[in-house]
């Protein structure tokens, strides 16, 4: 089995992600796409011929290119998702800051 190296690496990756979820370092929700992505990679590593079939079906001559394409698209999706989250969280931080400023002023008034 030529792909045993990849299988081991992916299993280690899944273990690493799972450990982080169990130890509450990553939320279950956030880990979802990473785990799904890892399992897809695991299936492709165990059944490498499936990659040839899919590449042939999509008209891609060199199968490893398809794997790279999938990886790039997946990472782009994750990066965009994170950018969206960061933008949303920035908005929320600003809103919280404004409310803290307002509440501090109210507390000051009450102390007087």
């Amino acid at each position: 089995m030529k792909n045993i190296y990849f299988v081991i690496v992916i299993v280690l990756l899944i273990t690493y992600i799972s450990r982080n979820v169990i130890k509450s370092r990553v939320s279950v929700k956030e880990s979802f796409f990473w785990i799904v992505g890892s399992f897809v990679a695991l299936i492709l590593a165990i059944f490498p011929k499936s990659m040839d079939s899919i590449a042939g079906f999509l008209g891609i001559a060199y199968a490893p290119t398809l794997f790279l394409l999938i990886c790039v698209l997946f990472l782009l999706f994750m990066a965009f998702r994170d950018s969206k989250r960061i933008a949303e969280q920035n908005e929320k931080i600003v809103e919280l800051g404004q409310q803290v400023a307002y509440l501090k002023n109210e507390v000051k008034k009450w102390k007087k």
Binding site: I22, V28, S31, F32, I35, E95
Partner: protein, 242 residues
């Protein structure tokens, strides 16, 4: 019963049509209890209506979602040292007089959580097809992994005792949907959960969290995924580790 401090936690999001009646019904039926309304960034008149009532109102600065709004109320209960919390929906689905039944049973049986079940005895309540399938599936999973019969794992009508108030208020990553996953987590951690038959009304306003086909499907996938991790986590820790 009246010696205990009881708090109704009502998360709301755009419930201007129901919230006034919900509050007044609680005051009429369970007059000794306090009420906290968590306004999850409503864009209608919910805030103005609640401000006129004699209840505690916590306005969230942005929309945090149902679960986080509930946890906000539970944190308030913990800070103010309440003995029992009753989770109560602001859409008029839960009936105030049924809450006392829930509270009584929770106290009498010395349970940590009492869940108001729509399916323990036959009622007129109707679920959509996908919700029926989900409810059945999660009941089976709870039976398999926790050896407990829970007929209504998606019920948000619950009574929580002081231990659970403490646990939930400190819980990191309080789940987005606190349903079967949280029940499994609590049962595996050694908490006692009972079900009490209750009557509920059909929700006729607001947008359902599980409407359509895509949302229930997404909910099921998320729930199964979360349950897998909970089981995984508990296979490494001792039972009864509260």
């Amino acid at each position: 019963m009246k010696d205990n401090k009881v708090l109704f936690v009502i998360p709301t999001h755009n419930e201007e049509k129901n919230i006034k009646n919900v509050i007044r019904n609680i005051k009429k039926s369970v007059s000794y209890a306090d009420i906290v309304v968590i306004n999850d960034w409503s864009t209608d008149k919910t805030k103005d209506i609640v401000e006129k009532e004699d209840v505690v109102l916590l306005n969230l600065p942005f929309n945090v979602g149902y679960a986080s709004a509930v946890q906000t109320g539970i944190k308030y209960a913990y800070e103010k040292d309440y003995d029992y919390v009753i989770q109560f929906d602001g859409d008029g689905q839960h009936i105030a007089s049924e809450a006392e039944k829930l509270l009584n049973e929770c106290m009498k049986s010395k349970s940590n959580i009492a869940i108001g079940s729509r399916f323990l005895v036959p009622t007129d309540y109707h679920h959509t097809f996908f919700r029926k399938v989900g409810t059945k599936l999660f009941s089976i999973l709870i039976k398999i992994f926790c050896k407990e019969k829970i007929t209504d794992p998606t019920s948000g009508f619950q009574c929580l005792d002081k231990n659970v108030i403490k646990k939930y208020s400190r819980m990191q990553g309080y789940p987005e949907f606190p349903d079967a996953n949280l029940i499994i987590e609590m049962l595996l951690s050694g908490y006692k959960i009972i079900e009490v038959p209750v009557i509920m009304k059909e929700s006729n306003t607001g947008v359902s969290m599980h409407g359509g086909i895509y949302k229930p499907f997404k909910y099921m996938v998320k729930m199964l995924y979360t349950i897998t991790f909970i089981l995984f986590k508990h296979s490494f820790s001792k039972k009864g580790d509260k």
